[in-house]
């Protein structure tokens, strides 16, 4: 069943199932984030006298965050490309770059949150802030989890090299990372841009 063209990570039945299982899990994640978005749209204008989106958002910082995260998605793609070429060093380097970008994104996001709190928008202020912080917080928590997870996978990569198992794990982690990027694009469009113009 497995020919020469089959990528390494698909070369055992178990890793094929792991990858399929992860896709199904991403399906559940889509429902999860859809629920967060839907609730945000319901509560978006309920500011209860507190600040609204356009009062506090700083578009420049958000643009930089977006740029960083998009780049990290690209570098994680390069990492998987190196993996397919059995280039362990390239894989390692591009993944580390990905993680550093992820950490940079997180750093900026945390600063952004601190700024909002100074502006008087805490998670307890209104329906809007509750939905806003929960949506972004869930995304940020996913990024944090991803950084720790991928770091652990890199330790395994260093110890074991590119095998069917390690490659499938890193491939799955890269799917996860791309997914977070897609979610961020929705956040950028429907939370920030929409919040600035409407």
């Amino acid at each position: 069943m497995t020919s020469h063209t089959t990528p390494l990570e698909y070369q055992s039945e178990q890793t094929q199932m792991n990858i399929l299982g992860f896709w199904v899990f991403l399906g559940a994640e889509i429902v999860l984030f859809s629920t967060l978005f839907a609730s945000y749209f319901v509560l978006e204008h309920n500011t209860a006298g507190g600040p609204a989106g356009q009062d506090i958002f700083i578009l420049k910082d958000v643009l930089i965050e977006t740029f960083i995260l998009l780049t990290s998605s690209f570098t994680s793609g390069l990492a998987i490309h190196s993996m397919r070429n059995h280039d362990k060093k390239g894989l390692l380097i591009w993944m580390i770059v990905t993680l550093l970008l992820g950490a940079g994104f997180l750093y900026m996001e945390i600063n952004e949150f601190i700024h909002y709190v100074h502006e008087g928008a805490t998670i307890q202020t209104s329906g809007f802030t509750a939905a806003f912080f929960t949506l972004l917080g869930t995304h940020g928590a996913h990024v944090t989890f991803g950084i720790i997870w991928i770091s652990l996978l890199l330790v395994q990569l260093v110890r074991r090299g590119i095998t069917v198992k390690t490659s499938s794990k890193l491939f799955i982690a890269s799917l996860y990372w791309h997914f977070l990027d897609v979610v961020w694009i929705f956040i950028f469009t429907f939370v920030y841009l929409k919040g600035m113009v409407m």
Partner: protein, 648 residues
């Protein structure tokens, strides 16, 4: 918080239970130690990844939870058996209908069905296990941690009391300041993780692990229902996750998702709850439909009538189940247009359901019916469930629902779908697949007692509730005045619940009796059945199939038996790969349970410390490269020889 706030005090009923629980725990620990069974428990059960054992543990938990939920039900029936009784006060009644509802649906129905899915589905598709055996063990233990956490509320801290639906604003901190509803949010969250993992596991198992030749339209109908149920789980449970997250944030961290004053919206909770909740009722009923289909086909000695239409009907029900959630709050301020649309979608569900009912009837037609206990449950299901279905269509009419909404009529309706649909199915499945799990049958004679007592008791209990409901009795009323005239109906209903309880007692006695006395000589195929799970030994060996069977048709095993092609050639045996046991699932689940417990009491430092347990478990898990082990051919040969006459 002082100690007497921590433990629930002041109620003699609860005090007695606290003592009983304490004594039982001490007794159990002493007994296991005395019998020197700890090591056995740990290595054979607590760390097992075998889908059959996990299934049995699910079923056992389900039976225990049925007992707890049933006692709640009996207490409510006792309280309303006469007008103005004082057995339970209003607060206590609130707590009991809340825990009853949550336990019956999430901690009784779900584990029973998931347990049977676990035991049966891998065998039905000719697989050695599920796709992710370790994740499967984790699913069970985390469900168990959630269930235990929920049950703890009753003696420590106080039970939730805002109904199983926990509508806001009632369920908010302002109106229910105790910890009870924290328990609700956190224990459902924890158990929900396990359900989601199960859903993913079964989707992948059924897509990827079917035996060679077992194409989709040859799949046993129970496997089909499990597959579709798993898809609904994946689609619906994340919604509950978010709803519970909001509830937790509102209650523990003072956010305003659902509090109107600060811009929240209680209707958001209702929508999210039922966006999950309605699919959830199909999550519990679809596998049950599959079980009945298997049992009816086996004991009518015919293939299932309209197999393909059955599959499409299940898929259709699953699809529609996502589009009906508003029917739970027709009366709460929707426009007429919205109500009409949801009336229509709701009534449309009756169409595929009707298709299934007729298919079962046509399967029975001209069959050589054998009235085994499993079959009796399936036969009783059809009329009882139809009553539930027809009253459901009555409730679906938005305009009429203004009369029925939140009355006892509704309570009678959903018990008429849930009890025949889920409980009868689980009973049928237990009688039917018992030999597959344990190698002996449950006693058929005691089974008949169980059946008649339970079915008669069930109808006695819930039929009168339709009438008091139509007469205006609303649900969740802890008592009523003599002048309402409901006393006679509800008194009769309470007697009925005792009859039903006697039926359950007969089941427990049956299990006890059969473990001790039933004949162990039942062969691998005691019912002359049709599907693959019966092609291997009963109880199934831990590797399930010595040689993975090749499938040619629907009901393959039935036709193989007719052609005498069920034998096994020694030359075909190859070493079998098996997954190793693992300690991470149970330890992770325990850590989740602890974190949940500390969060209930808002003891954040302790919660964070326990969360380290979760991190350790996850890290250990990702560094675990255990590849399992192989069972050598000699061992297979020996085990197979024990039950087959035909090993060549």
């Amino acid at each position: 918080m002082s100690l007497d706030e921590f433990f629930v005090t002041g109620d003699p009923l609860i005090f007695a239970s606290q003592i009983a629980i304490g004594l039982t725990m001490v007794g159990l620990i002493a007994l296991i130690t005395y019998l020197k069974r700890w090591k056995w428990l740990w290595s054979e059960w607590f760390t097992t990844v075998d889908h059959k054992k996990i299934g049995i543990m699910y079923i056992l938990s389900g039976v225990l939870m049925f007992f707890r939920g049933g006692v709640d039900g009996l207490l409510m029936k006792a309280q309303t058996s006469r007008p103005e009784l004082g057995l339970l006060d209003a607060q206590h009644y609130d707590e009991i209908f809340t825990t009853h509802g949550v336990i019956m649906i999430l901690f009784m129905a779900m584990p029973m069905l998931i347990g049977i899915m676990n035991v049966v589905v891998p065998l039905q598709i000719g697989a050695r296990d599920v796709a992710f055996p370790k994740l499967n063990a984790f699913s069970f233990w985390i469900f168990f941690a959630g269930a235990m956490l929920f049950n703890l509320s009753f003696v420590i801290g106080g039970s939730p009391d805002a109904g199983w639906t926990s509508y806001f604003p009632l369920a908010g901190k302002e109106f229910t300041p105790g910890v009870g509803n924290n328990y609700y949010a956190l224990s459902l969250q924890i158990a929900g993780i396990g359900t989601l993992a199960t859903g993913i596991n079964f989707v992948v198992t059924i897509i990827k692990m079917r035996a060679p030749g077992l194409s989709w339209m040859k799949l046993p109908i129970f496997t089909w229902s499990t597959f579709i149920t798993s898809i609904i789980i994946v689609a619906a449970f994340p919604i509950l996750t978010i709803a519970l997250l909001y509830m937790t944030l509102d209650r523990l961290f003072g956010t305003h998702f659902f509090t109107v004053a600060a811009g929240g919206d209680p209707m958001l909770w209702l929508n999210l709850f039922w966006l999950w909740g309605h699919p959830e009722v199909y999550i519990v009923v679809l596998p049950a439909f599959g079980m009945f289909s298997e049992v009816i086909a086996t004991f009518a000695r015919k293939n299932l009538y309209g197999y393909k239409s059955m599959v499409y009907a299940v898929a259709g029900i699953a699809f529609l189940s996502m589009l009906v959630w508003v029917h739970h709050f027709y009366t709460m301020g929707n426009s007429a247009a919205v109500n009409s649309i949801f009336s229509l979608t709701t009534m449309m569900i009756a169409i595929p359901t009707g298709v299934k009912i007729f298919n079962w009837l046509f399967t029975l037609r001209k069959g050589r019916i054998e009235f085994s206990t499993a079959m009796l449950w399936s036969l009783a299901f059809i009329p009882c469930f139809t009553i539930g279905g027809v009253t459901g269509v009555m409730l679906a009419m938005a305009a009429a629902d203004y009369q029925y909404h939140n009355t006892m009529f509704l309570v009678a309706h959903f018990h008429y779908v849930l009890i025949p649909g889920v409980v009868f199915a689980v009973f049928a499945a237990l009688y039917y697949w018992w030999p597959k799990m344990f190698g002996f049958k449950l006693n058929e004679k005691i089974g008949k007692w169980h059946f008649w007592l339970f079915v008669i008791g069930f109808n006695m209990t819930f039929m009168p509730m339709f009438f008091v409901g139509l007469d205006g009795m609303s649900r969740r009323m802890y008592t009523y005045a003599e002048s309402t005239g409901w006393g006679a109906w509800l008194g009769f209903s309470a007697v009925g619940s005792l009859v039903m309880a006697a039926g359950f007692a007969a089941l427990c006695y049956n299990i006890y009796w059969s473990f001790r006395y039933a004949s162990r000589d039942v062969g691998n195929d005691p019912w002359n059945a049709r599907t693959l799970e019966w092609a291997t030994a009963s109880p199934a060996p831990h590797y399930n199939f010595a040689v993975v069977p090749e499938v040619e048709t629907l009901d393959d095993f039935w036709y193989k038996k007719k052609k005498g092609k069920t034998g096994l050639k020694k030359a075909d045996l190859k070493p079998v790969h098996m997954p190793s046991n693992s300690w991470t699932p149970i330890v992770l689940a325990a850590a989740f349970g602890l974190v949940g417990f500390f969060l209930v009491f808002e003891w954040f430092p302790l919660a964070i410390i326990s969360a380290i347990g979760i991190v350790v478990g996850l890290v250990a898990n990702t560094f675990d490269y255990d590849d399992g082990y192989h069972i050598p051919v000699e061992e297979l040969e020996e085990e197979e020889r024990e039950w087959r006459g035909d090993l060549q």
